[in-house]
Symmetry: C2
Subunit: 282 residues, 2 copies
């Protein structure tokens, strides 16, 4: 671990304590999990004998470009150089490197100790064999690694999330439902659906026994009509105020820690529930 914060060791050990309980609940072996943690102040020293570097720095291109140049000069030539960035493509991060193809995005979905997904996004200069090594690394940790085949703003999960969120803000801003009702609609329908089957498989099963072809042919027209009337939203001052007021009125009495604990417990219950039922999600 290399981080300029003076209390980084305490912070990291606190996170590992919480994450350790969650990982144990998911059935991972956690004994001795932190035994090999080492804390270094100097980045070159920290990466000197690293097999894998997972960069989690601030989301500023210039910062990451300088950091990677230093790391490239100090880490072993075959070390995997991975960035947790959710927004800065590898090709931009690698602009000052001798071998820019080495940087690959390995974006874990939040909370990273619970969520299976890691989006793996190589850059146009990446050797495909290197991407294979990265996919195997995350898969070996028990993650579900999905390769994003072209660099694109927001990658995949955050683009999908932002698409739905624009409509969420629009519906609440226009008084169709309140913020807490919107959340309830999602948890009691789409969330359960999408934790089991993705959007395409869901529509295959929603189209009747003739499946996705029937769905596209007969219900696709209705969906295209709906695409035309979807809302636009912006975080202007009245919208911000409305959202924050409604949030306070509904969830405001519960502490951040209690809500986060309930979220973790819920996510663990879902992951374990699906595993116990031996269900292959699609």
């Amino acid at each position: 671990i290399c981080d300029p914060a003076p209390d980084i060791e305490t912070k990291v050990r606190d996170v590992f304590a919480t994450a350790g309980s969650a990982l144990a609940a998911l059935g991972f072996e956690t004994a001795g999990m932190t035994d090999q943690l080492r804390f270094k102040k100097d980045i070159a020293e920290a990466v000197a004998s690293a097999d894998i570097v997972q960069e989690c720095g601030p989301e500023r291109p210039a910062f990451k470009q300088g950091l990677w140049k230093t790391i490239e000069g100090a880490a072993p030539a075959d070390a995997l150089l991975l960035s947790s960035s959710s927004s800065i493509p590898a090709s931009i991060q690698a602009s000052d490197m001798a071998e820019p193809g080495r940087i690959i995005i390995g974006h874990p979905f939040n909370p990273p100790h619970l969520m299976p997904l890691v989006e793996v996004v190589p850059n146009p200069k990446t050797d495909p064999a290197l991407t294979v090594r990265v996919m195997e690394f995350y898969t070996g940790l028990g993650k579900v690694a999905v390769e994003i085949r072209k660099e694109i703003a927001g990658f995949v999960a955050n683009r999908l999330q932002s698409a739905i969120f624009q409509e969420c803000v629009y519906l609440v801003a226009n008084g169709i439902v309140t913020l807490v009702e919107l959340d309830q609609v999602v948890t009691q329908s789409l969330g359960i659906r999408w934790a089991t089957n993705g959007p395409f498989l869901s529509f295959h099963l929603g189209g009747g026994p003739a499946g996705l072809p029937h769905f596209i042919e007969h219900l696709g027209v209705g969906m295209e009509q709906l695409w035309k009337v979807l809302g636009k939203a912006s975080f202007d001052e009245p919208t911000k105020k409305l959202l924050i007021d409604q949030f306070s009125a509904s969830y405001g009495a519960q502490s951040y820690e209690d809500l986060a604990e309930a979220r973790d417990a819920g996510e663990i219950a879902i992951i374990n529930g699906l595993a116990r039922a031996n269900v292959t999600v699609g």
Copy 2:
């Protein structure tokens, strides 16, 4: 049950057999569940002593308008008149009625025997006391009823679903990921998240300890940028062919029945897993 199909009784009893197993797995009492089923050919006779009429006819306005006129003339004056429609607002369905305010949408999310959500959408002429009765009816069945406060095309869940689906089709059509990879991204991240916490609560917890206000203030700008670059999609011929080819290549070897059974088992595992863990989703 009133339906013109000659084999309606067989069909309905088959559905109840499958749904009964699912309901039993969710902990509902199912003994004698179908004992009071009656099948009538004539709609006026079918509704003559009904407390509740749940209309599930074809999604054609003229058909529903005629049907409701007949039902209004034949059903008890205090019967609840509910429509399962996912697309035709109550005010349009009620155009030929003496008391148009009586029609209320009660749209159950598919598959209706498993999904908790029912969207309750009154029309502008509905007496609020009637909406309360309808909400209590669905809640009494163990459903989560959410009142949609204004009529709007697609109501809430299907608008949200269509917003995300446009981006899904865009990403697959542009080769960012394949159809099955897109589904995998969703099931391994957003689905688990949204089965536990809705989009607003998720961003509250994703914004760090300062919560939703911090998220909107500091990360909202990045999200607004992403809204500007979200994709447009259409079901043109090349896109249809691509989707159907990729679907066949990935899920094609599995029967509709096996996939539907896996979906039901997954949804039951999630609902039961959350209940067992005593997690309040938000």
